[in-house]
Amino acid sequence: MIIPFSSPPTLSSASRFGEDVSEGEDFYMNDGEDFEAERATITSPGESITSARAFMRGHGTYVDSDEVVASVAGIIERVNKLVTVRALRTRYNPEVGDLVIGRITEVRIVALACAIENNERRKVQPRRWKVDANARQDAVLMLSSVNLPGGVQRRKLESDELQMRSFFEEGDLLVAEVQAFFADGAMSLHTRSLKYGKLRNGQLVSVPPILIRRLKSHFCSLPSGVDLILGLNGYIWISKHVQDNEKEGEEGFDAEAVYSNQNDDIDDATRTAIARVSNIIRVLASRSVPITDAIVLEAYEWAVERDSDAKDLLLGDVADALIAAVTTKDELTEQW
C-alpha cells in the first residue's frame, strides 16, 4: 500500500497503535521485510531506521555509516524505496498550489541597494510584499501577482508601484495561493483570483500546519453566517459570511471592496458565532485533532445544542466533552 504523501499519517490504525512502541527498541526495517503501513512507527532524532543501501533517505532523515537515521521526532513513512520521517510539529512546508493565509511584514516599493546590503543572491526584486506565512522564510508577493482595481486584465502602471501600500500594508492579512519557489526555497504567492485577496470581517486562529489537510475546497461556509478559510499553513480565517453575488462580477471588482480596510457591520449573533467557531478550532487544535469543515460543523452543532457560551468552550471539561462528542462517533463509523 502506498501512503499518500500529503495525507495524514497512517490513520487507519492510529488508535490501535501499540504501547510497545514507546518502550520498544529502535524500529529497524530489514532489507526484505515489507514496511508495515498499518502501524505508525514513532522515531526520534539519532535513531536508526533502516539500511541506507536498500533505501533512499527523504525528509527528516540523514545517512550515517550506511544507515538511514531520523533527524526529527515523528512518524516513519515510506514510498517505495524512499524513507521519510514526518515531524508532527513543525513550520509549514509549502507546495505549489497550496492555499495559504499570510500577513504582510514588509512593503518593498523600490529595492535600491538591497542587494548590496545583504549579499543578496537573488536578483534585485523591486515592487513586492513580504508575507509571513508560518514558513521558514517569509513568502514573496509580487506586484505583478495581484489583481488590481479596474479589472483583471488591467496593465500595471508606475503609479501602482507608488501606491502599493494602498493595496496591502504591513499587518494586513490576505489569502493567497503558492505560485512558485525561488532558488533559495522562499515561496512566491499570487492572489490573481477573485477568491483571494485581503481579509476582513473576522479573526485569525493559528494551529499547527499538520492539522490542516488538503480538502476539495478550503473555503467553507457554516450555517449561521460564518465563513471559514483553512490555510494549509495552519492559519485559519473565520469571518462573517459574504454573499456570493457580492464578490462576483468581472466589472464589479472595485478597489473599494477588495482592498478596503474597513470592516462591515457585524451583528452580535454573527460575532458570537465567529467566537464560537474560533474557540472550537482552538480546542480541536489543543487536542491535536485535524481540522476539517465537517468536524468544525459537527462541533458547532454540538455547541449550539448545548447552548454553551462561546468562552465556556475553552474550559477543560467542556472541551473534553466536545472532543468526546465529535470523536466517539468516528469510532462507530470506523469500519467504513
Partner: protein, 230 residues
C-alpha cells in the same frame, strides 16, 4: 636609492614625469617639476629617469590602475561581484568584464572563489573596479578565476619582488618542480603545482624569503629547500 621621508621635496630636470605611489605633484612657480614625498621609503626611478615611486614596507595595499591583483569574491552584487583585494574597501568586478562574457553568458563565480584581475579604476574617492580581461582586445590574458592551487599571503614588497623577472626565487623553485603562479601586487600569490608537498615548499620558501619575514637570500633559500621534504 635615497631614503625619503614624508614632506621632502624632490626636483628633477625632466619636463614630463610619471609619479608612482608615495609621491605627489606640487605646483611650482619656477617652472621646475617638483614633487613631495607622502610616504617613507626608498625613492626609486626607472632607467630613463622620468618615472618615480617610493618603495616602502607598508602592509596595506592601495590599488593603482593597471596593477594585477588577486581578490576573493565576497558577495554577488547585481550583475557582478564584490571582491576583497586587501584594500580598506571592497572592489567591484563587473560580470561582463570577462573574455567572451555577454548578458546571456556570464561566468559563474561563487562567493569565496579566487579571481586574478586587473585594477581598471583606482580613484581615491571611488570604490576600486576590477576587470578580468584587456579592455581593448577583450582577451583574458591570463586573468580570470583561479581554481585549485593555494593562496600565499606575503608582504607587498615581496609580491613586487616576485613580479620582478630577475628575482631569484621563482626560477629557483621552477628548477625543482613545475609550478604555475599568479602574482598579485596586493601581497597575494597564487601557486599551483602537481603535488601538495610542492605547493607547501613553495609557500614556505616565499615566506622564508619575504623581507618582512625570514628575509633569506638565494643561498639561504637553497639550503632551506634541501632541508624540506620534497
Amino acid at each position: 636609492m635615497p631614503v625619503v621621508l614624508p614632506g621632502e621635496v624632490i626636483q628633477t630636470q625632466h619636463k614630463t614625469i610619471k609619479l608612482g605611489p608615495g609621491l605627489q605633484q606640487i605646483s611650482n612657480p619656477e617652472e621646475k617639476t617638483a614633487m613631495t614625498v607622502t610616504r617613507a621609503g626608498t625613492l626609486e626611478q626607472n632607467a630613463k629617469g622620468n618615472q618615480f615611486w617610493v618603495e616602502g614596507n607598508s602592509r596595506r595595499y592601495v590599488p593603482a590602475a593597471q596593477e594585477p591583483v588577486i581578490g576573493i569574491v565576497s558577495a554577488r552584487q547585481g550583475e557582478g561581484w564584490r571582491v576583497d583585494i586587501g584594500y580598506a574597501h571592497q572592489a567591484s568586478l563587473d560580470g561582463l568584464a570577462f573574455e567572451g562574457a555577454s548578458r546571456r553568458n556570464r561566468p559563474n563565480l561563487k562567493v569565496n572563489s579566487l579571481v586574478y584581475a586587473r585594477v581598471s579604476l583606482a580613484h581615491k574617492d571611488m570604490e576600486p573596479e576590477l576587470e578580468c580581461f584587456d579592455a581593448q582586445t577583450r582577451k583574458a590574458e591570463g586573468f580570470g578565476e583561479l581554481k585549485g592551487g593555494f593562496l600565499v599571503r606575503c608582504s607587498l614588497k615581496m609580491s613586487r619582488n616576485l613580479l620582478n623577472p630577475n628575482y631569484f626565487l621563482l626560477p629557483l623553485l621552477g628548477s625543482r618542480f613545475p609550478l604555475d603562479t599568479a602574482l598579485g601586487t596586493n601581497g597575494r600569490v597564487w601557486i599551483s603545482a602537481k603535488e601538495v608537498k610542492q605547493i607547501i615548499v613553495a609557500a614556505r620558501c616565499i615566506e622564508a624569503a619575504d623581507p618582512d619575514g625570514g628575509g633569506m637570500d638565494q643561498n639561504a633559500i637553497k639550503k632551506f629547500i634541501s632541508t624540506l621534504d620534497l
